[in-house]
Amino acid sequence: MKKAARRLLEFAPLVLFGAVLVLFGSLSRRFLEPSNLVNIVAQASSTGIVAVGMTFVLLTAGVDLSVGAIMFVAAAVAGKMMLAGVALPLALGAMLVIGLAVGAVNAFFITRIRVVAFIVTLSTLFIGRGLGLWITETRAMNLPESFLQLGSARLLGVPFPAWLFGTVVIVGHLVLTYTPFGRQVFAVGYDARAARKAGVRTQRILASVYLISGLCAAVGAVVTLGQLGAVSPKFGQQKEFTAIAAAVLGGTSLFGGRGNVLPGTLVGALLIQALENGLVIINADPYLYPIITSAVIFLAVWLESLRNRVRSAGAIAVP
């Protein structure tokens, strides 16, 4: 009985995802059409990629609030470069470098100066957004056609962003489950002090996850830029919250040490996007979107706390 409940809770994200598909599928035939499903995956790509990086950070019991700002700065710089006639690959490279650079700044202050991650990344969020506004002179920028092709190109009928999303998810999953680094991320997240005692190079692990998160944010920016073809002052705004929500919705604990990218974060990101997509298709009042989305996120977090309770109840049962 308890085991069944535990099982169900472990799979809560998947169950929730299935419920959303069934619900909207029954409300509108269009929702389950292959083209719309592919559309959902493509739309979820940017958030999903950023959320994979966020999952690494959350697993260490940290948080990275700067991902949206990283996206903005990277997009702004790339936009300026493209408009100045720089070649596409160079602009893309610059975006990734910016992601890594901001990640490195976060990592430096968190592991060397020992400021709490929340404060550090909140600061880089504001600094990043300010920097982005300064670069763009608070004006929207339309990018050349070549960038839009990046978002709409298809391979085997699947859009490029979805391929990128899939790749990031699989690489993230492999790193977390099949490399020493990945397993040590879980150890550090459970108890950093104990990890250090066990001989794990805790600071290096912590620094790495912020670099990974920064890089993923930059890749997410590439995808969004390819899909929108423009940089507005709101580019990437509040992406940090959707990314955290996707990871948590997928079962990653905010207290560290528990969670996964596959299926967790993948399902989380798809779930949020499916919800939004479904609401659009059934013509729901746009003002309802945030309310319903946050209700689902609340539900997921509540389930997560239930899961923890079942888990600790099991742990007490030792003789």
Partner: protein, 516 residues
């Protein structure tokens, strides 16, 4: 060559100007088992943390197997094949057994960053077999019992092919059977030539298992030599620094409870329990506890002692039967309500349930009394009276005067931590104090003080209900002992009939029953 296999030579270490170790020197012979004893704060853990690479000494040197040895970090100690098994096990419950063992040394597919899982599993299974644990290595550690976790920790030590294993209080969370298994395993390891340094407050185990004893007090070696050159009396007096003819204080006021029939008379009882049952855990339990009585509860691990305490305090609902307190029937009263009526409960897990480890001593002390002191006006805390109360309580429970009010509880020794928990409850002047393993992991000197405190409270009319796994403690401390087995009360002895063997027999039962 007169040099020992492992030799400490003038090791000194100070924290914030307080000298914790002052020129400690002693040697360990290859393949021997050394008992390292001393009160909390004597410097045992600091010394072992230096040996294990967690701390650097200020002065002195260590020679190990003929070479100078000074580990920079735990990894370095592991490279020298020295393993340290901490009291609080250093395992990650969210990872599997195999992952815990190989966390920093995963075998990989050559030249790739990927873990070779088949190899990890194979080697982990082998190590588990060596420590006598036959369970799948991919199981998460959070599903294991305390004893099994300890074995995983030992398997981890074997994975670095340890030559020396340091055990810090390894038996505090183990059942009797698990403890026996641990000692069997240690004997097997020693047969293979491993040396052991064994830190423990359980002197009986030290006497039985170790062939050499080193006594530390205030950061100095006060005595060392083969085990047979020590007696318990000598060891205790070396540890606490004063002769202690008795480990337990005299119990003067016990005469009132000598008469067994009188003590069973429910009229005027402080606590009366009638027919208390909880399916699978407690079965038809009836007893009383009078004002000023120290009532002990003996039994094996899993007999239902802690469960009984939790039901009495209202932490677990759904029990049938009656609990009368002070002449009132407590029907489903919440713990909060029971506290208000004068009950207090010290759990067996003082770290997770009894203390806010990172909060200051003063804050912890005032926690249970806040409501009382906040009852004026806008419920703001009157700082003055509260501070006075804290100072008074500190004196009453005799917390080390060197400890500052604002010091985090985490930094205190086990004995002082337990005094903080006691003090917290005393601030409310409880009428019934339920103590679950009140002296677990506490050194001899602090134990004595806690016993004295318990007696003083009882003399002032507080009823004490104390659960303990240490038979000597119950016999030395109590006016009456109840014995539980498989959820039932099976014996009730007044002090005049105290008998170690009788209590044990009652707790174990007849062999067929015990094995079922």
């Amino acid at each position: 060559m007169s040099e020992h296999w492992l030799q400490f030579d003038g090791i000194a270490k100070a924290f914030h100007g307080v000298k914790v170790l002052k020129a400690v020197s002693f040697g360990v012979a290859a393949g021997s088992m050394v008992g390292l004893v001393g009160e909390n704060g004597a410097g045992k853990s600091t010394l072992m943390n230096i040996l294990g690479g967690n701390l650097q000494p200020d002065a002195g040197r260590i020679r190990f197997a003929g070479r100078d040895y000074l580990p920079r970090d735990p990894q370095d100690a592991a490279a020298h094949r020295i393993a340290f098994i901490h009291q609080e096990l250093n395992l990650f419950p969210n990872l599997s057994i195999a992952e815990n063992i190989f966390l920093t040394r995963f075998p990989r597919f050559s030249t790739t960053p990927f873990i070779q899982r088949s190899e990890v599993d194979r080697r982990a299974t082998e190590l588990l077999r060596e420590v006598g644990l036959e369970i799948p290595v991919r199981r998460l550690v959070e599903t294991l019992s305390a004893g099994e976790r300890q074995l995983v920790e030992i398997a981890k030590a074997l994975s670095i092919d340890a030559r020396l294993i340091i055990f810090d209080e390894p038996t505090t969370s183990l059942t009797e059977r698990e403890t026996a298994r641990l000692f069997e395993l240690i004997a097997r390891l020693r047969a293979r030539g491993l040396a052991i340094i064994y830190i423990s407050h359980t002197l009986r185990d030290v006497f039985r298992q170790c062939d050499q004893i080193v006594v530390l007090r205030d950061g100095q070696v006060l005595g060392s030599g083969p085990t047979n050159t020590f007696t318990t009396e000598r060891l205790v007096s070396l540890m606490v620094g004063r002769p202690m003819s008795q480990l337990f204080p005299e119990r003067a006021a016990t005469a009132r409870f000598q008469n067994a029939t009188a003590s069973r008379d429910p009229a005027g009882a402080l606590l009366a329990v009638r027919g208390l049952s909880r399916p699978g855990l407690l079965e038809n339990i009836s007893f009383i506890c009078r004002q000023g009585e120290v009532l002990g509860l003996a039994g094996l691990m899993g007999a239902g002692r802690s469960e009984l305490a939790r039901v009495l305090f209202g932490l677990d609902r759904g029990a049938q039967g009656e609990v009368w307190f002070d002449g009132n029937l407590l029907q489903d009263a919440s713990p909060r309500e029971r506290i208000r009526r004068g009950m207090a409960f010290l759990t067996e897990n003082r770290h997770s349930e009894g203390l806010c480890l990172d909060a200051a001593v003063a804050d912890n002390l005032s926690l249970a009394g806040l409501a009382e002191y906040g009852r004026t006006g806008l419920r703001w805390l009157p700082r003055g009276p509260l501070q006075d109360a804290i100072t008074r309580i500190r004196g009453e429970v005799n917390i080390d005067p060197r400890v500052a009010d604002q010091q985090p509880v985490r930094t205190l020794s086990g004995g002082n931590q337990q005094k903080v928990v006691l003090g917290k409850w005393l601030l409310r002047r409880p009428r019934l104090l339920i103590l679950d393993e009140p002296t677990r992991g506490i050194d001899v000197g602090a134990k004595y003080e806690i016993y004295r405190l318990i007696h003083r409270l009882a003399d002032n009319g507080t009823g004490i209900f104390v659960i303990s796994s240490e038979m000597e403690e119950l016999i030395g401390l109590c006016d009456r002992i109840l014995v539980m087995r498989n959820g039932k009360l099976v014996d009730d002895l007044p002090r005049s009939e105290f008998d170690r063997e009788r209590v044990l027999r009652a707790a174990i039962g007849n062999p067929e029953e015990a094995s079922s």
